[in-house]
């Protein structure tokens, strides 16, 4: 599938699995997914909140869950640094299920600002007990994260290495 269709397909698959509240801060690797979110039709059973910072997106996900919604947050891995405390002192201890779609800049040679976080990202997630896996196929990633987040009532993360 061309990249942009993969991003849209990921959003569609999440909506099919009844994830219905999306927020996040864009990354160029996730362009196709954000494009799909910005063009949600009014009659689709999902909404999108464009957040100014990743911790705003994660906090909004918690508020949406209180109202009975199922939240997803999309971000670049640089944003995990911004929202780590919101994950650890809100979602993880209040036991709020969330699917994080995290683009993985710096997993190989990349621009210098991505190198440190790119190398650390799997360990960072392990250290705060957020289960994660690299997205291979959309269906597999969504069904794994849906089962894992629902069963554990915790955030889980899908790492996206290629542009979608």
């Amino acid at each position: 599938m061309p990249p942009r269709e993969t991003g849209a397909g990921l959003v569609d698959e999440l909506i099919r699995e009844r994830w219905d509240y999306f927020s996040g801060v864009p990354c160029s690797l996730l362009k196709g997914a954000f494009s799909r979110l910005e063009n949600l039709a009014a009659d689709e059973p999902a909404s999108y909140l464009p957040a100014p910072r990743e911790e705003v997106a994660v906090a909004a996900a918690a508020g949406a869950y209180l109202a009975g919604r199922n939240p997803v947050v999309l971000m670049q891995n640089s944003g995990l640094g911004y929202c780590l405390n919101t994950l650890t002192s809100l979602l993880l201890i209040y036991r709020i299920p969330l699917v994080l779609i995290i683009s993985w800049r710096g997993h190989g040679a990349d621009a210098v600002e991505h190198v440190v976080i790119g190398e650390a990202i799997p360990r960072l997630l392990d250290d705060v007990h957020i289960a994660h896996r690299v997205m291979d196929d959309v269906h597999g990633a969504v069904s794994w994260s849906t089962a894992k987040a629902t069963e554990t009532r915790r955030p889980v993360a899908i790492l996206v290495k290629e542009a979608i």
């Binding site: 906090a59 508020g63 650890t88 002192s89």
Partner: protein, 198 residues
């Protein structure tokens, strides 16, 4: 200025909006709110300073029949200011954003916040797109009642006095706070079917 105690201000806010959902920032303000009389309509943050506004914003947008009141301090307000334009753009008519301002981080020992920078709270709210933003000394001021009668988002900046006593920590476990608030909202919704969410 004869500033009121935070406990009194919170008690008056709850009395003015008894059916509202309250989302309160971490530290002493959540503890003070718990002292007013704990219940499932109080959702306390025990950490995540600055997050009360985005939690309340999403809650207000997704549960549109509820009135949502966010309780910030001046410190947490300054941390969460990047949300003001988002609140203005999303324009939840059912959101009230209260900033209780004692000019200090009292929960951590009274360190100053931004040295009187909070004079601009209502100006920042208006610039963010809140249709109503008031600076008042007393919740009982008739302008508060008048503003609460109009569609929000409504901002209320309230100078408060330093505390004379420290209230106990939040008693319910975080998981229980989530469970009870979700149940309350679900029950309210099933009693009033037909709500559409964004």
């Amino acid at each position: 200025m004869n500033e009121a105690s935070p406990a009194r201000v919170l008690a008056e806010l709850v009395r003015a909006l008894p059916d509202a959902l309250f989302v309160s920032t971490c530290g002493y303000l959540s503890r003070d709110l718990q002292q007013v009389g704990d219940g499932p309509n109080f959702f306390y943050l025990v950490g995540s300073m600055g997050a009360a506004l985005p939690v309340g914003l999403a809650l207000a947008r997704c549960a549109q029949r509820e009135r949502v009141v966010v309780i910030d301090g001046d410190g947490s307000f300054l941390m969460g200011m990047n949300c003001l334009p988002l609140v203005g753009a999303q324009a939840p008519a059912n959101l009230v954003h209260v900033v209780m301002d004692n000019g200090m981080h009292e929960s951590t020992g009274g360190q100053q916040t931004a040295g009187n920078a909070c004079r601009g709270v209502t100006a920042a709210m208006s610039a963010g797109g809140y249709p109503h933003a008031l600076l008042v000394e007393d919740v009982a001021d008739p302008v508060v009642r008048e503003a609460l009668g109009k569609p929000g988002p409504t901002g209320i900046h309230l100078p408060i006095a330093p505390r004379e006593a420290i209230a106990p920590r939040i008693a319910p476990e975080p998981e229980e706070l989530v469970r009870r608030t979700r149940k309350l909202i679900a029950n309210n919704r099933s009693n009033h079917p037909g709500e559409v969410g964004p």
